[in-house]
Amino acid sequence: MNGIAYRKLDWIAISLYLILVIFGWMNIYSSSYQDGVSVFSLSTKYGMHLIWISTAFLLASFILFSIPSKIYTSIALPLYILFALLLIAVAFIGVEINGSKSWFALGPFRLQPAEFSKLSTSLLIACLLGHYDFSFTKPKCVARAAAVILLPILFILMEKETGSALVYLGFLLVYFKEGMNGWILIFGLLAIILFIVTLIGSPAVAVTVLAGIIFILAILYSRKRWLWAAIGTGTVTALAFISKIPSPEILDTAITLTIPAALAASLILAFKKKKIGRNLLWGYVCGVCFVMSVQFIYSKVLQDHQRARIEVLLGIRDDPRGVGYNVHQSLIAIGSGGLTGKGYMNGTQTHYDFVPEQSTDFIFCTVGEEWGFVGSVGVLAIYLALILHLMKSAEKQVDRITRIYGYCTASCILMHVIINVGMTIGLMPVIGIPLPFLSYGGSSLWAFTLLLFIYIKLDYDHKINR
């Protein structure tokens, strides 16, 4: 390839990337600083990370200048299969770190295939959904799309890396964008709400909430909307009044009142608008089954440490020295930063190892403590800018594959940022996934660099060939 039209490169994405990587290294330097040790010393994390950064830059330029973009459509499936195999292999021959078996050890270097599997999955999704024949109305296509996501989730769960598996749910956003029924997202959200309510309250409360939601939907679809709304408001007020009295018997009464009400509403609708009524009824039945199975899932499927993390997050369990230690210390570090922070290299909490994993999963603590509210919101703003920029740029793509791949890239970054930052400030359970571009670690930095720069390359090629 001779002569590159540099102006056509996505410089906004590249500069946001560079800002994040450099800022990340600064914070790694601060959090793992060792007195009197050279910046280039490989015994330190900041020294090592310099190597990761330079190799990541090499990879980026390699992708931009040496690898033709056509190759990706043809290697998507083989790559996907390769990483699927690696994911299986790592579960057996991998090195166990912090309770999950997700690393390959090659001498001093460690590789986490789950990081790269996001890339191959994104590529395959782009190829699959980008195919002219693909449609979410065809069951065969839906089945394929589901399988692409579920397979890596399954393998990663085998490695006991539940956190990484969650990231793959982000691809549902891409599916939604590409025409998947929005109800699936809504039902997913509902399922999460019911899950939390079941754990914090009780299955009975969850069923009440479910009945309430069904009831509201029934009202929205009925013809005599106002009448139903009035009845509904009355019921809700009565319920609110009753629930103030903390007596299990009264709560049971409330449930026995609302459930028939919801059923009746749905039945009435079923007579007039058969389809919606039936759907609501089915929704109700499925919801009840879900709530009933949550207790089972929670006690049988989830592992002890995951249960503990979720309980701490939901406030069921208060344990600042045990499971809650990480979050507690992380909150202290971020909270003590105040508006403008303690200043670069001046954080006491991150400097003195109070926060575990501070240069990898908890790097945001260093940002929060040393740069304060201003700094942490600034970092979030850069991420938001990058994500929205990628989405906007993808939306403009003429090529379907490039567009879908762009959305996949954005969704991966989005999920990582939300889960990681949410974890450090106690909005999410402790899920050990890195903050893209900022966290220490070769696998993560390389994977995200590849992910981003493949998109930049695809975007560039299409601009050139237009």
Binding site: F176, G179, G182, Q329, Y352, G372, F373, L414
Partner: protein, 610 residues
């Protein structure tokens, strides 16, 4: 395509909303909630206590009686210990390997509870061991040294008086939150009474530390550190030489000596025998069991805690009351034919001339004379009943401090006992008792209990001709002025002039009466013997005196349990204390007396109460 664009907008809005939620949470954590900042400080700052040196204790002449020396506690932080050479460590501290291993097994068992705390590994390590350890400290990561100060006693005197310090216990901490675990506090005696003065003020160094409790550096280069303020030195009223001498004299005897400077109320010496050796005091923890199980109760400060009948020395009180009440003049003559007899009642007496006046009765310690005096006080026609007369008599005795806490600065001081109307009503029936029923009070027997401090205070009162200062142990100095209450004169209800009459009798008692053994050539001693009857064994030997007669410098009581007659032990001992204090040494012609007292051992006569 249109619907897809719509979904792009939906997704954009949803993502922005999620970021807003995160920002809101960040705002609440970083800006609104201040709690995290405080927790961060507690997390990262370590306050290391700097212990002040406890104030030293001096005697009235500036002689050091309690001072400090440095000891070293070896601390261990089990969480920071890495495998080390157990044998080498044991060799340094002379411990056996098995016990150390057992200790570490225990640390392991309680590791969750211990966390990153430092525990005392060995207390009060001697200097040599400390030096060796310092050289090899790098071999034993997790071990460290804390410097503490320990009490030392240059003179073997005043064990009971000084009291001991020991580490605070959980009960004490609950009541005194200003103390922290590991602090030492005065538990008895002067150490306890003057704890606030002696303890000083703790300081601290602030260090930054990391999550593993490793000290990183000084916080702001020590700018916010607090220097420990040394405890105030305390000058006592004790004369260390006299105190030590008194203890030597009382060795082998049970009882006490109290010497007071009448003109100030200063306690010059206070001996309780058997007492606590100062060597034990310094290492009280290792001797505590031994002290507590000692049947002679060395911890018990008899001088202020043991009320006993004062015996004949109390005749002086009755004489003074009689004079003040006008029922007696010095020239009043009463007969005595080997005692006092009314009906069936007989109070025996030894043989002496009869009849005799007040001076002679004091000189010979006549029992009969004071029975007459006591009867005339109680049966005085100006009172309607014996009970009323008794109440008046009791008021007089209380004005001397009997039956009351004098209010000294000795924490364990007891009030003693004086009988009450109610008590006799119970004993004999209401109003059915007469002066004869309680006649033993006339000679200091019966239902009367005075501590040696009471009796010494009485001696000082006579020496002052009618008033006393509350006896105290703290010397009034410019740096540490004493409480105002110690500077107030407490007058008795007896006029000053009557005291001269009693003093004349006391002088005669020493020159030619029962207390002749107390004579010191060149010093006019006034004294009174007492033989307190003891139904459980030999009588107690009691003697009070003061000297010189004019402008007295010292008033002394000696109370020797099971010592027999007052003149046998108490009088020689008290007079030797007087001589020691006034002359600093014993004259050659009284050496024989000193030797006899030093050599006497009455321990076999003492019945041990179990």
């Amino acid at each position: 395509m249109a619907t897809f664009n719509e979904r792009h907008t939906v997704l954009t809005i949803a993502i922005v909303l999620v970021f807003l939620v995160i920002t809101a949470k960040l705002f609440s954590v970083q800006i609104i909630n201040k709690e995290y900042r405080i927790t961060a400080e507690n997390n990262a700052l370590k306050y290391e206590t700097r212990y002040p040196a406890r104030g030293v204790i001096l005697d009235r002449n500036g002689k050091l009686i309690v001072s400090n020396s440095t000891t070293y506690d070896i601390m261990v932080t089990p969480a920071n210990v890495s495998p080390f050479d157990t044998v080498a460590l044991c060799r340094i501290f002379g411990m056996d390997t098995a016990s150390v291993k057992e200790r570490f097994a225990e640390y392991r068992r309680f590791r969750k509870k211990i966390g990153f705390q430092s525990l005392v590994f060995k207390k009060q390590v001697p200097n040599e061991q400390y030096n060796i350890f310092c050289e090899q400290e790098y071999l034993f990561p997790g071990f460290s040294v804390i410097t503490r100060s320990k009490r030392i006693y240059p003179i073997n005197a005043g064990g009971n008086l000084l009291g001991y310090i020991s580490e605070v216990d959980a009960d004490f901490l609950k009541k005194n939150p200003e103390y922290k675990s590991g602090d030492y506090v005065g538990k008895t005696g002067i150490e306890r009474a003057y704890e606030p003065l002696l303890r000083g003020e703790k300081g601290y160094n602030i260090y930054l530390r990391d999550a593993h409790n490793r000290i990183k550096e000084r916080f702001h280069d020590g700018e916010y550190d607090k220097v420990a303020i040394q405890g105030t030195d305390l000058t006592t009223t004790i004369d260390a030489d006299v105190q030590a001498y008194g203890e030597q004299l009382m060795a082998g005897k049970v009882g006490s000596i109290v010497a007071i400077e009448p003109s100030s109320g200063d306690i010059l010496a206070m001996v309780s025998s058997p007492g606590i050796n100062v060597d034990m005091l310094a290492d009280i923890n290792n001797h505590y069991k031994e002290i507590v199980s000692d049947p002679y109760k060395p911890m018990f400060n008899r001088a202020v805690m043991s009320p006993q009948p004062p015996g004949s020395v109390f005749k002086l009180v009755n004489g003074l009351i009689g004079l003040q009440e006008g029922v007696l003049v010095p020239q009043t003559l009463y007969p005595c034919h080997r005692g006092f007899s009314v009906g069936n009642l007989h109070v025996g007496c030894h043989s002496h001339s009869s009849p005799l006046n007040l001076y002679e009765s004091i000189m010979t310690s006549c029992n009969a004379y004071f029975c007459y005096v006591f009867r005339s006080i109680l049966d005085n026609p100006k009172y309607e009943s014996v009970q009323e007369g008794f109440e008046k008599w009791k008021q007089y005795t209380e004005s001397f401090g009997f039956g009351l806490k004098l209010g000294s600065d000795i924490p364990s001081e007891q009030p003693g006992t004086m009988p009450t109307v109610e008590r006799y009503d119970k004993l004999h029936g209401k109003g059915r008792w007469k002066s004869l029923s309680i006649i033993s009070l006339s000679i200091g027997q019966g239902e009367i209990g005075c501590t040696p401090l009471h009796i010494a205070n009485f001696a000082a009162t006579i020496a002052n001709r009618g008033y006393y200062y509350i006896p105290h142990l703290q010397k009034d100095t410019e740096a540490t002025p004493i409480d105002r209450k110690f500077k107030e004169r407490h007058y008795t209800m007896v006029d000053t002039s009557y005291f001269e009459e009693v003093i004349k009798g006391m002088a005669m008692a020493v020159t030619g009466g029962t207390g002749r053994v107390a004579q010191i050539p060149g010093i006019e001693v006034c004294g009174k013997t007492g033989t307190a009857q003891n139904p459980h064994g030999d009588d107690h030997s009691v003697f009070i005196c003061f000297a010189p007669r004019e402008n007295p410098k010292i008033a002394v009581v000696a109370y020797v349990e099971n010592g027999g007659f007052g003149a046998t032990y108490a009088a020689p001992i008290a007079s030797l204390v007087v001589e020691k204090y006034l002359r600093r040494e014993i004259s050659p012609d009284r050496k024989y007396l000193e030797d006899r007292m030093l050599g006497a051992n009455l321990m076999n006569k003492v019945k041990i109460k179990k």
